[in-house]
């Protein structure tokens, strides 16, 4: 007993001050990318460097980067040595619509909160069922991290439930394999309405690396209505937390 108390004292209080304090991110963290068409140079080199076809040019030759597909590998940044594409340190990546995830040199708009009715229902208490539908366990791991003492998700009234019947919505990871599609649909149906769906990671948003595989569906798009998109491969835990809190109107 004393040893447990002594160890408790030694391990200290470790919950991060987020969102009141800025998150501590690694120096080499790859967050929100910025495009500067004037510095891109050879756009085709950047497009070909991308392993997931997240980059394209529009009719005017300007680069468009789909954060919903991007795996944040930084290959395009290396292909534009003049600084045409630079992954910044901003961890706030979430969006409310699929279109908002496509960024250009003009940047992007910050995600809106859920509507007032949803905020009233879920803003102070949100129970989620997580479904891993072909995920590689990285998105799952960095979602699980939110329940540790570091992020202490329960302090925001957000928790993960064991049963979809007890949930207000789903948090889905993975490209939705054919083998998980039925289970995902059944789990969604088991959640009482009104309910929300949160897609975490490039796979769940667009299929990511697996988008063109015949063994998978290309993410949630044709399967469930998505209310919140949280891009990344995997998103940093603080990116996921930001997405949840921003949707609920808990941070501006």
């Amino acid at each position: 007993m004393w040893k447990i108390l002594l160890e408790r004292f030694r391990q200290k209080h470790r919950t991060v001050g987020y969102p009141r304090r800025a998150p501590v991110l690694p120096e080499r963290f790859r967050g929100l990318p910025a495009i500067d068409d004037a510095k891109v140079g050879d756009a085709r080199a950047a497009i070909e460097a991308c392993p997931v076809e997240a980059l394209a040019t529009d009719a005017a030759g300007r680069l468009r980067l789909d954060l919903g597909r991007c795996i944040f590998c930084g290959q395009c940044e290396r292909a534009c040595p003049e600084g045409g594409i630079v992954f910044g340190r901003d961890h706030r990546l979430c969006a409310r619509t699929r279109d908002e995830l496509v960024i250009t040199a003009a940047g992007r708009t910050r995600a809106q909160t859920l509507d007032a009715a949803a905020r009233r229902l879920f803003g102070r208490s949100l129970k989620l069922r997580q479904v891993s539908a072909g995920g590689c366990n990285a998105c799952e791991a960095d979602t699980n991290v939110l329940t540790t003492v570091v992020f202490d998700l329960s302090r925001f009234g957000i928790r993960f439930t064991a049963s979809p019947r007890h949930a207000d919505g789903l948090l889905v990871t993975g490209p939705v394999t054919l083998n998980m599609e039925a289970a995902l649909r059944k789990t969604y149906e088991a959640v009482p309405a009104p309910k929300i769906v949160i897609a975490v990671g490039a796979c769940a948003i667009s299929g990511g690396l697996f988008a063109d595989h015949e063994e998978t569906r290309a993410g949630l798009a044709d399967i469930l209505p998505v209310d919140v998109f949280i891009p990344g491969c995997p998103p940093h835990p603080v990116t996921i937390l930001d997405g949840l809190l921003r949707a609920l109107g808990r941070i501006e």
Binding site: K3, I4, E7, R8, R10, Q11, P26, E27, R28, R30, E48, A49, C50, P51, V52, I71, F72, C73, G74, Q130, V131, S132, A133, G134, G135, C136, N137, A138, C139, E140, A141, N144, V145, T147, T148, V149, V150, F160, A162, S163, P164, G174, P175, T177, L178, N179, M180, A182, A183, T187, L209, F210, H213, E214, E215, T216, C233, P234, H236, P237
Partner: protein, 505 residues
């Protein structure tokens, strides 16, 4: 194995495909069974298309005590006599061959799909199914009798876990048998690797099992480097080894915490949950990503460490060591923890050997099996990490072996960071040799990762086979549950902590 016609080659080198002996099925079986009875293990065993609609089976055996790999091939059409009845190690491999190529291993005692996908060979299906199979639609083993009941769990589980389906045959609380149906995570990665290496190859490797990004990326790079004859700089070997051990540390620490959480011992659960994150953040110091995405690349590493990063990592490592030691010690000092850990989910060394278990699950049965020692590559050729074993084969042993490995990995990391020599971290990576075979073994945190890469005429990847340690070990979990209380399943499951996506590919 003197007088054996098998092609022997060294780990880290390449073999010309034409030199792999093509044996008649009977001869192939006899030599494989002989080698296995002499202590060899099946590292990989798979089929690939051969001319005339046939399937060529290729097996690679590993001999831990000599560090030698050996290979043989045989050609089959619709069926052959299964190895499994005499060699249980082949069990899962032969099910995979049957599912992928519609070849029936005759006499296989447990011939069922493992991933639930259509056969890759047109018109050939081992089960003569007309339509694509539905996941989990298998002929489950079933017991009959008064008071016998069946419990079905999954694919969607209670926690934030990957999907899998578990069927328990129970009498009251007692589990007679657990059958595990996987395949829900099947994304078909192996087939997409053909024609590579290309821009997608390494991202695929890093998402085979996201918690083993470094392990799988390293195995792939070592196979490709063997094929291309690349000389990886020493500093890159050190950085790769450091990343591999950080991955092991993060997962082992996380597992100790999860084991504590499963028995409701919250102090260690809380501390380890946090320390695991600290260790992942150390990997992010290396490359910006907590799982090591983008770090390991053919020829070396894509990132280098500056002097201040090294000092930062040394400081973080000291803190993590102190915190982990304190958190782990609480487990062994608490009688309520030991009461739940000891004698729960025990498997014998004989069972572990017969099934060919790998990693901490095997070492917890007293088996000295560790790729870092038996088939060293990279930095492990110069710096050895002592193999950690414990003999009781139960949940305690699997927890304790992890704790020992945590200590040893930290000692290794400290030594490496203290003596990091300057130099480049990335060598040019050229073209792969044509018509060649390379096998790379890496001791991932769950155990032996085996990647086999075969090139075609053009030096591009013609066939790629991945064996995640979970592929060997899922059957070990099923065996560990025999005679246990069903309420101990979460604890037993966590003590193995196997990968679903790494298995399903």
């Amino acid at each position: 194995m003197s007088g054996s016609p098998l092609l022997m080659f060294e780990h880290g080198g390449l073999a010309e495909l034409g030199r792999v002996p093509e044996l008649a099925v009977a001869e192939f079986r006899a030599h494989v069974l002989d080698a296995v009875s002499g202590g060899a293990r099946i590292a990989t065993f798979f089929g690939r298309p051969a001319p005339g609609g046939a399937v060529r089976l290729l097996i690679v055996l590993s001999e831990e005590y000599t560090g030698i790999l050996s290979a043989a091939a045989t050609t089959v059409y619709d069926s052959y006599t299964a190895l499994t009845p005499e060699c249980p190690q082949a069990h899962w491999f032969e099910r995979e061959i049957a599912e992928q190529w519609g070849v029936v291993p005759r006499g296989h005692p447990w011939l069922k799909p493992i991933r639930f996908h259509p056969s890759y060979r047109d018109g050939k299906d081992a089960w003569h199914r007309a339509e694509a199979p539905a996941a989990g639609d298998a002929d489950f083993f079933r017991m009959e009798g008064e008071e016998i009941h069946e419990v079905a769990v999954g694919p969607v589980h209670a926690g934030i876990i990957e999907p899998g389906h578990f069927r328990f045959q129970c009498h009251g609380e007692r589990v007679f048998h657990l059958e595990i149906a996987l395949g829900y995570q099947h994304r078909g990665i192996e087939r997409r690797l053909r024609g590579g290496p290309n821009a997608r190859t390494l991202p695929y490797m890093e998402t085979l099992a996201g918690d083993t990004s470094i392990g799988h990326a390293l195995a792939c790079c070592e196979a490709l480097e063997a094929l291309a004859g690349t000389r990886v700089p020493t500093r890159a070997h050190v950085l790769r080894g450091a990343a591999l051990e950080l991955e092991r540390l993060a997962n082992h620490v996380g597992d100790l915490g999860a084991l504590a959480a499963d028995i409701g011992f919250l102090p260690t659960a809380s501390y380890c949950g946090r320390i695991r994150g600290d260790l992942l953040n150390m990997t992010a110091v290396l490359c910006g990503n907590r799982f090591g995405r983008g770090l390991v690349r053919p020829g070396g590493t894509a990132f280098d460490l500056a002097e201040e990063h090294v000092r930062d990592l040394q400081r973080r490592l000291r803190a993590a060591e102190q915190d982990t030691t304190g958190a782990a010690e609480l487990l062994w000092q608490s009688s309520s923890v030991m009461g739940r850990f000891e004698d729960t989910g025990a498997i014998t060394a004989e069972t572990a050997q017969a099934l060919g278990l790998v990693g901490p699950a095997a070492r917890a049965c007293g088996i000295e099996r560790d790729v870092r020692r038996d088939f060293p590559s990279g930095i492990f050729r110069y710096a050895q990490i002592p193999v950690a074993t414990f003999g009781s084969g139960d949940v305690f042993a699997r927890a304790f072996v992890r704790a020992l490995e945590i200590q040893r990995s930290i000692a290794f990391l400290k030594a490496q960071l203290d003596t990091l020599s300057p130099g480049p971290v990335l060598a040019p990576f050229g073209a792969c040799a044509p018509n060649a075979l390379a096998v790379a073994l890496v001791e991932g945190w769950r155990g032996e990762i085996c990647h086999t890469c075969l090139t075609g005429e053009d030096g591009r990847i013609d066939h790629y086979k991945v064996v995640d340690p979970s592929f060997h070990n899922w059957m070990g979990l099923a065996m560990a549950l025999r005679g246990q209380q069903i309420s101990d399943f979460p604890l037993c499951n966590k003590s193995f902590n196997l990968s679903y996506c790494g298995h399903d590919l």
